[in-house]
């Protein structure tokens, strides 16, 4: 079943065409990577899907319903939640308070009103759900520390944990591995895979090609705002236009 359908979206900033006619379809339960060289339009595409920017034309459908141009908080309520490129946490709140705040849309609701994901415990109590997520993401031991005191890798994990509190069906991660050391990278990558195993579809933008190839089921490559290739890791790495656009010239790649 398709969870996200992006049809011919385009975004112009004045005369500059940042995203040109991109279409992407993501089936449920996949980890999809979105890669491309610097300035290729990845982050703009991300903003267009999550509602932080309105497309000039085209449409975005989430679970069959059109969400184009809706406010981001409305899109989040439908179950499409995104994280940010630079680590984004509530710096002065404790780790637990951050995750607690993530439950905003569940506060004051009864469980029957929020659709549940069978592999994730339901939000019958925000306290229980917060503890469960902290445990699941390996943050329990730091739960009382102020978020700003955590190392970069942990803050990244915390921003994913906060997003999980919303109970997303599709989680969009904007460069979740950027700026992390190798240990932190493999830790976060492992968490992302286990989220998929818990029934959450993932779309991630990443700069670090090696980790994208290892964790994504399918990869979409864009360059100059256009989609140039789509497929699994093998198909992408052997695609000449991808090699040329992203990994460098064919000769130097083979050498």
């Amino acid at each position: 079943m398709t969870i996200l359908e992006v049809n011919n979206i385009e975004k112009k900033f004045g005369k500059l065409v940042a995203v040109k006619d991109i279409s992407v379809t993501i089936p449920e339960g996949q980890i999809r990577g979105l890669i491309g060289p610097n300035g290729s339009g990845k982050t703009t595409t991300f903003h267009l899907i999550s509602g932080f920017l309105k497309p000039t034309s085209g449409e975005v459908k989430f679970r069959g319903a059109r969400i184009t141009g809706k406010a981001p908080h409305r899109i989040a309520k439908k179950g499409l939640v995104r994280t940010f490129q630079l680590t984004s946490v509530y710096r002065d709140m404790s780790v637990r308070e951050n995750v607690h705040m993530g439950h905003h849309i569940h506060a004051g609701r009864t469980t029957s009103e929020t659709e549940q994901n069978s592999k994730f415990p339901s939000v019958s109590s925000i306290e229980d759900s917060t503890s469960w997520i902290l445990e699941f993401m390996g943050l329990s031991s730091e739960s009382e520390a102020p978020a700003r005191m955590l190392p970069a890798g942990m803050q990244r994990v915390l921003s994913i944990a906060t997003a999980l509190a919303v109970r997303p069906k599709l989680l969009m991660l904007d460069e979740p591995l950027a700026g992390l050391n190798p240990t932190e990278k493999s830790n976060v990558a492992q968490k992302i895979s286990s989220l998929r195993d818990h029934g959450i579809t993932i779309l991630l933008v990443e700069h670090d090609v090696r980790s994208v190839l290892s964790i994504c089921d399918q990869i979409t490559v864009i360059n100059f705002g256009e989609k140039i290739a789509e497929g699994n890791a093998d198909e992408i790495t052997s695609n000449p236009s991808v090699i040329e656009a992203y990994l460098g010239k064919a000769e130097s790649y083979n050498a």
């Binding site: 908080h73 939640v81 946490v89 509530y90 002065d92 705040m101 905003h104 849309i105 906060t162 997003a163």
Partner: protein
């Protein structure tokens, strides 16, 4: 909800606040009896400004420092002044709530443009909106009396044996309003809604991404804070008996902003503490009044340079030291008893 549930669901700090208020209230009621009529007036004006700054602090929780607060308060004042000086004067109590409502409505109208701006731009855009409003008070002479303003605003009818025509009687009115507003706003500050507003101020993008309606959570404190301002404006017009556009200019606005900086805004009591400091300074230098603005300005700069966080942080640090000292003494004491 049973009463027991209500009590357990109430934040503990609010319960303490209620107890503290109950203890302080008789002292505050007795206070004017010990004061000369001059100091009674100072006390009333301080109380009205305290209401104003509680509303101002509510606005700062959404991350923006408004400069239209005092001009907005003017809407409450003019509503009361105009309606109470008609041939068939309106009841003060109706104009009080109507004025607060009009101030809130004005905030709601300017919210769309000014809340699109952030930081300095928010400060500048609210300054422009406030100044435009104040110019309105001057220009629409037919309704507002122009630069001369409106005089002979009557005080409300007394009740329960309290005569609002006296300064002391009016003080009780202002005090009652201030205590009610303080308890309501403090409860609001501790509520989930209050916390969410602060979360939006701390990180707007993140808040939006987890499904918080950030627009609504910025507009609400701006409008509610303005309602409080209108309330205070209406009361002060009534207390002074006369208003003119100068009353709602940048001098009072600067005093509020300075109080918020000197006192700090991370706690509820910070701005009130700042206001108390500025008022004390003003009264101490009453015979050298020309020095007062200079001293206020110097205080603001000194706090920003030496003591960011303001007086509230000094108080909090003081309490922590006191607590540590007491705990230490207790443990020393128990150590001694163990020795013997």
């Amino acid at each position: 909800m049973t009463i027991a549930q209500f009590i357990t669901s109430t934040p503990r700090r609010f319960v303490y606040a209620c107890i503290g208020t109950a203890i302080a209230a008789p002292l505050l009621v007795a206070l004017p009896h010990a004061l000369s009529s001059y100091w009674q007036s100072v006390l009333v004006i301080f109380t009205l400004n305290a209401i104003m700054i509680m509303g101002y602090r509510l606005i700062t929780t959404m991350g923006g420092w408004s400069f239209s607060h005092v001009a907005t308060a003017g809407l409450g004042a003019y509503t009361t002044a105009i309606l109470m000086t008609l041939e068939v004067p309106w009841s003060f109590w109706i104009t009080l709530f109507l004025g607060a409502g009009i101030a809130g409505l004005f905030a709601l109208l300017i919210a769309y443009p000014v809340l699109r701006t952030r930081h300095y731009y928010f400060f500048l855009s609210t300054f422009a909106a406030g100044e435009a409003l104040r110019q309105g008070y001057i220009q629409f002479k037919g309704i507002t009396g122009g630069g001369f303003g409106i005089a002979f605003i009557p005080r409300p009818e007394g009740f329960l044996g309290i005569d609002f025509d006296t300064t002391m009687g009016f003080y009780y009115l202002a005090l009652t309003a201030a205590l009610i507003i303080w308890l309501l706003l403090y409860r609001f500050d501790l509520s989930r809604l209050g916390r969410t507003i602060k979360a939006v101020a701390a990180n707007e993008e993140l808040s939006e991404s987890i499904g918080i309606n950030t627009w609504g959570h910025r507009t609400l404190p701006f409008v509610l804070g303005s309602v409080i301002a209108g309330f205070a404006g209406s009361l002060s017009a009534n207390f002074n008996g006369t208003i003119n556009p100068m009353d709602f200019g940048s001098i009072l606005m600067f005093k509020l902003v300075a109080a918020a900086i000197v006192g700090g805004v991370s706690t509820f009591f910070g701005p009130i503490l700042g206001l108390l400091y500025l008022t004390a300074l003003e009264e101490a230098f009453r015979t050298w009044a020309e020095w007062v603005p200079l001293l206020w300005g110097a205080s603001v700069i000194a706090v920003l340079m030496l003591w960011s966080g303001g007086l509230e942080m000094a108080v909090i640090r003081g309490f922590k030291l006191l607590k540590a000292f007491l705990l230490n003494r207790n443990s020393n004491h128990s150590a001694k008893t163990l020795d013997s």
